[in-house]
């Protein structure tokens, strides 16, 4: 039935991993993920899960040893943020290439410089091309649900890919809020034990992490891409099963009041909840506003996007990261690209907000919608609220 408790979201994410009975946690602490690392360590030390905690000396080693453990058939969890994620970035594409279904909990934090420990998405965006499945949680409940779903999706034989679950650093990690923690029995029913496709063992002969000569590399990359693209089917299945068993619905793109919307905001992460309030306020003032909340970032939900934008005239895409010197925010440029061939498409504009923990308020969203509706943007993207 699950139990409604008040819990700090970072702690809850570790508790969710514990419910999944992970075998190995290989984690290095970094603000604002540190409570996740500490609590995973407590869980293992208290013997609540029969697991090993590898106390690595860096994030690079965290993911490397996580991969080694996963290659032997262990269910593995890790967690990081910001610079830590960038430090392990050379291992990220290898994890997906080797088809190891590790689950990584990311407390999204701005990437330096200048040094900033607060929330934005500039850590996960450079990882777009690394071949991982990416979920974005809007609140503590979604964090818990997604961690559990991540293991199920990643370990599915049709997928066999690592999954990262993104939660906003501080904005979610350090908030105590009501969460329904599923029971162990419920999770056991939903998530069976991990049966790896192949595992390193003296009795089995398998080579992993092999060399890929130019003659085979293209084929290897296509194979990985096909797996990632097709994984959306499994994500939908798992989310449908989750809804049936737990009663909470998940979609790659969740639409809010878009039935007759003319201008719609697009968000990823917890600011989406603040955006809902803005949409409600605007509607009360007679503005036909709506909201699209992206929960599945990779594989990119092309079909869901095309359905979601029907009838919308202007999309105001918000990004919490900037692709410097590029076309704007990452979410914006991917949406624009995804809609390029769609004959009837909305005008797409971009606001970079909430960078480095800058507070994102209801009034900001309302202002964005009003200006987007008037087509009032001098450039394709803008740093919202920048002084000067």
């Amino acid at each position: 039935m699950g139990k409604r408790v008040g819990m700090e979201v970072a702690i809850a994410s570790a508790e969710a991993a514990a419910l999944c009975k992970f075998d190995v946690a290989s984690v290095y602490p970094i603000t604002p993920q540190s409570h996740v690392a500490e609590h995973l360590s407590d869980i293992v030390a208290d013997g609540r899960v029969d697991a090993s905690f590898i106390t690595v000396e860096s994030e690079h080693s965290a993911l490397s040893s996580a991969m080694g453990a996963s290659a032997t058939g262990a269910r593995v969890v890790t967690a990081t943020s910001s610079q830590g994620l960038l430090f392990m970035s050379e291992v990220m594409p290898i994890t997906s290439a080797m088809r190891l279904p590790i689950v990584m909990i990311i407390a999204n934090r701005a990437v330096s410089g200048p040094i900033n420990i607060w929330n934005d998405h500039s850590d996960i965006m450079p990882m777009r091309d690394t071949g991982w499945i990416s979920f974005f949680a809007d609140n503590g409940q979604e964090v818990v649900d997604m961690v559990i779903q991540a293991f199920k999706v990643g370990e599915d034989r049709r997928v066999m890919l690592p999954v990262n679950v993104n939660m906003d650093g501080f904005q979610l990690t350090h908030v105590v809020e009501p969460i329904i923690m599923p029971d162990q029995e419920e999770v056991d029913k939903f998530l069976p034990p991990y049966k790896p496709f192949a595992a390193l063992h003296p009795d089995n002969c398998v080579s992993m992490g092999t060399l890929g000569m130019p003659e085979f590399f293209t084929e290897a990359q296509k194979s990985k891409n096909v797996a990632l693209v097709n994984s959306i089917k499994v994500v939908r299945e798992v989310w449908k099963e989750w809804e049936t068993q737990f009663g909470r619905k998940y979609e790659p793109i969740q639409s809010y009041r878009t039935e007759d919307a003319e201008v719609a905001l697009v968000t990823m992460g917890s600011m989406g909840e603040t955006a809902e309030i803005a949409v409600d306020e605007l509607r009360m003032q007679g503005v036909k506003a709506g909201l699209l909340k992206i929960k599945l970032w990779r594989p990119f939900p092309f079909d869901d996007l095309k359905k979601a934008i029907k009838g919308i005239k202007v999309l105001a895409v918000t990004d919490r990261a900037c692709s410097f010197g590029g076309p704007g925010g990452p979410v914006f440029s991917e949406i624009r690209s995804a809609l390029y061939d769609v004959p009837k498409k909305p005008k797409v504009v971009n606001y970079l907000i909430g960078l480095g923990g800058r507070d994102v308020q209801v009034e900001n969203f309302m202002d964005m919608v009003r200006r987007a509706a008037k087509g009032k943007l001098s450039e394709p993207y803008e740093f919202y609220g920048v002084r000067g």
């Binding site: 192949a198 002969c205 003659e215 085979f216 194979s223």
Partner: protein
């Protein structure tokens, strides 16, 4: 080097490019370009096993009667075994032809 048939299409590549065939590295006969080969004089051999330990290719094995020989498919003729042999029981001789 023996000819190796690899996967043709992307569908044939194993997930993760895993290789399930045991000892597939053995397909590569690294000894095919050898200039000199080791020759053991068993009368001098004291069966210490130093040549076996030092061979960088790991291609020296112990025979049934306790002496040693190199697997010529893999021996590159580096001469380390002859260099390390205490009783000088190994001679490096030219490859024929």
């Amino acid at each position: 080097m023996t000819e190796k048939k690899g996967p043709e299409t992307w569908q044939e590549i194993n997930p993760g490019c895993m290789v399930f065939r045991k000892g597939s590295a053995a397909d590569y006969h690294t000894g095919s370009w050898r200039a000199k080969r080791p020759l053991w004089e068993n009368e001098k051999c004291i069966k210490c096993g130093v040549c076996y330990i030092y061979c960088p290719e790991g291609c020296i094995t112990e025979t049934a009667d306790g002496f040693f020989e190199a697997n010529l498919d893999y021996c590159k003729g580096c001469g380390i075994c002859a260099h390390e042999c205490w009783p000088k029981a190994i001679a490096m001789v030219n490859e024929e032809g």
